[in-house]
Symmetry: C2
Subunit: 349 residues, 2 copies
C-alpha cells in the first residue's frame, strides 16, 4: 500500500522515459491549474518533439496502468494517487526560495522563549511558508532526566507536584490526599522525593519506602501520579498552524469540515504522524495513510532529531495536488532549523 522512495517492482513502477516525462508533465500541470490536462497541453509543455496524438496514445497506456484517470470521456486526464506517488518518488529534492530562506533564518535567530511557544510559532511559520495547514508534534522526551521535584501545598488536601526535566519541560500534577497535610510534611516529602527521583527518568522504576506515616503516603501517591503519566502518548503536544488555510486549499466545504474535525483530535494527529515516521514515509498520498476521512488529502512529514534522538515532527496537510517540492523543502528546512534551535538551547532561551 505505501510506497517509499525506491521503486518496488521495476516491471510496473518503472516507466520508459517518454511515459515518465508525460506523466510528470500531467501531474505538474494539474497541480498548477487544478484542471484536467489534455494531450495538446502536454505536447507543448514537455518538449519531447512529439505530436499530441502520440501523447494521447501514451496517456491511454498510462491510464490502463493506473497512473492517470479521466473524469469523463471527453476531458483531459488527472493523476491518480498512484500517479502522484510516482511523481513524488521521482522528484529531485528542491530548495527553499531565497526569500523564504531569509524568513526562516530571521525567525530562528530572533525567536526566544519557552519550548512550547517556539513550537507554536514555528507551526505558524511553517503554515505561512508553505501555504498549507501545518502540524508540529513535540515529544516531551521521556528520556529526559528529572532535575527537580517539588510539592507545593495548595490547600489542605491538595498538593501540586511540580517536576522539572533536563530538557526544560515542566510538568504539574495534582496530588490529593485523604489527610490534611501541613507545611512541614510537605517540605519533608519534597526533599525525600528529590532524593528519590532526581536523576531518574519517567521510564525508570523506583522503590518507594512503604511506611505508613502521612509523609510516606504522600510520597508514594506523588510517585504514582507522576509515573502514571508515562505510558500514553498524551504527553506529546500538538500545535496546529494556519487552520484557516484548510478553507483556502480545499474547495468543498465538506472536505474542509472533515479535515478540521481530524485536526481537532490531537491523538489522531499524533498517531497519524507517528505512524508515518515509524514506517519511514515522508509523504502519504490519498488513502496511503489509511485515514479514510483524509483520503482526498496528502500529508508531508519531516522528523525532528535533537541530539540524535527523535523529538517529534513537523507536518503539512493539503490536497493531493499540493506543491510537493516546495512543501517538502519547507518541511525539511523548518524541521532542521527547529532541531538546531532546540539543540542550541536545551529547553528554552
Amino acid at each position: 500500500m505505501a510506497r517509499r522512495g525506491s521503486p518496488r517492482n521495476s516491471g510496473e513502477s518503472d516507466l520508459d522515459a517518454r511515459k515518465a516525462t508525460i506523466l510528470e508533465a500531467v501531474v505538474a500541470e494539474h497541480i498548477d491549474t487544478a484542471q484536467p490536462v489534455g494531450s495538446t497541453a502536454v505536447a507543448q509543455h514537455a518538449d519531447l518533439g512529439v505530436s499530441p496524438a502520440t501523447v494521447r496514445n501514451e496517456m491511454v497506456s498510462l491510464e490502463r496502468e493506473g497512473y492517470l484517470a479521466q473524469p469523463h470521456t471527453s476531458a483531459g486526464r488527472i493523476p491518480t494517487d498512484k500517479g502522484y506517488r510516482y511523481f513524488v518518488d521521482h522528484l529531485q529534492s528542491g530548495e527553499l526560495g531565497s526569500a523564504q530562506q531569509f524568513q526562516l533564518r530571521d525567525f530562528f535567530t530572533g525567536v526566544r522563549g519557552e519550548v512550547e511557544d517556539v513550537l507554536e510559532r514555528t507551526s505558524a511559520l511553517l503554515a505561512q511558508l508553505s501555504g498549507y495547514t501545518s502540524v508540529v508534534v513535540g515529544t516531551t522526551a521521556t528520556h529526559a532526566t528529572i532535575l527537580s521535584v517539588q510539592l507545593v501545598n495548595l490547600e489542605r488536601r491538595h498538593q501540586l507536584l511540580v517536576t522539572v526535566f533536563s530538557d526544560g519541560t515542566v510538568l504539574k500534577h495534582s496530588v490529593v490526599t485523604t489527610d490534611d497535610i501541613d507545611y512541614a510534611t510537605c517540605v519533608e516529602a519534597s526533599q525525600q522525593l528529590n532524593a528519590l527521583l532526581v536523576g531518574t527518568t519517567l521510564e525508570s522504576r523506583v522503590q518507594v519506602p512503604s511506611r505508613s506515616d502521612s509523609s510516606s503516603l504522600l510520597i508514594a501517591e506523588a510517585v504514582a501520579v507522576l509515573h502514571a503519566e508515562r505510558p500514553t502518548r498524551e504527553d506529546e503536544k500538538v500545535f496546529i498552524g494556519g487552520a484557516s488555510k484548510v478553507a483556502e486549499v480545499f474547495d468543498s466545504v465538506e472536505t474542509v469540515r472533515q479535515v478540521l474535525s481530524i485536526l481537532e483530535e490531537e491523538l489522531l494527529v499524533v498517531s497519524l504522524v507517528e505512524d508515518m515516521l515509524d514506517r519511514g514515509v515522508s509523504v502519504a498520498i490519498g488513502s496511503e495513510h489509511g485515514y479514510a476521512p483524509l483520503s482526498s488529502t496528502a500529508v508531508v512529514v519531516a522528523p525532528i532529531h535533537v541530539d540524535g534522538v527523535a523529538a517529534g515532527a513537523v507536518g503539512l496537510i493539503g490536497p493531493t495536488r499540493m506543491k510537493y517540492q516546495e512543501v517538502m523543502a519547507a518541511a525539511t528546512a523548518v524541521s532542521k532549523n527547529l532541531a538546531q534551535h532546540l539543540e542550541g538551547s536545551a529547553g528554552g532561551d
Copy 2:
C-alpha cells in the same frame, strides 16, 4: 451602535404588539429554515387571526423601520441585524434541554485534572452542546499570590524559574546569566527568591537588594523576568472547541476562512471577548462587535466568576441566524458550572 438588554429610545425600539409578534415570527422562522419568510407563512404560524395581506402591510412598515430586508422584490423577508437585536432583547431566557443538562452534570462531576485540561475539555463540551464553535478564555488570575519560587539549573548559564501560584497556575521562565552558576548558588538564590516573593502577587513591586555577587544578580534577573510577564494580556489562555463546526454552520467557504483566521489570532479572540464583557454585552450581532471580518456572525459570551472575581469567559460563534435561546442557555449553564468547578477545586483536583 451596540444595544443592551434594555431598549434605548422607546419611540423606535418598541414595536406594537402585532408588529412585535410578526417580527419574532419572521426571525424564528428564518432561523429555522434559512429561507426568506413570506407573509402567508407568518400568518399561519403566528396565530394572530389576521390575513396575509395585513401581515404584508406590517412587514412593509417593519422594513421601513429597518428590522427586515428583502433579498429581492418578489421574495420573502429576512431579518436585519437590527431585527435580530430586537428578537434577542425580547427573548425570555430559556432552559437547557434535559438531556443536555444531564450531559453537563455528568461532565462536571466526572472531570478532573489540571485547569488547562478542564478548560480545554469544557470548550469541546460547549461546542458539542451548542452545535457551534466555542471559545473558552481563562484568565490566569494576576491576583493570585505566589506560593513557591524555584530556580533549577538547566545548563551552566540557563536557569529555569518555576513559579507556583495559589490558584494552581505554574509558570516557567528561562533566566539566562552571563556567568556560570553552580548548584549551590542556585539553591541559595531559590531560597532568597522564596523569602522575597512568596505571598506577593505579580502586581506587587518588590525591593531587590542590589549587591553584585552572582547570586544577587541572578535574583534580580529572575524577578525582572517574572514581572515582565504581567502587563500584557498574553497570560490569558484561549481554548477553541469544535472548530470544524465552522464549516458546518456557514455555507460560504470564504466566511469559513475568515472566521477561522480570526480564531487563529488568540489575541484578537481575547480582546473581542473582553470588549464584550467590558461593555456588559452578552450577544453581539453582525457588525455590533466592530470586527469587520465577522460581520456575518453573531457572538455570544458568558462571563466566568470565580469567588466573585472575573476569571474569564466562555463564548460561542455562529451565523447571525443562530439559535440564540439554546445557545445562550448553554453558554450560561456551562459558565456557571465551570465557575463552580473552579471554586470547588482551587487549581486542580
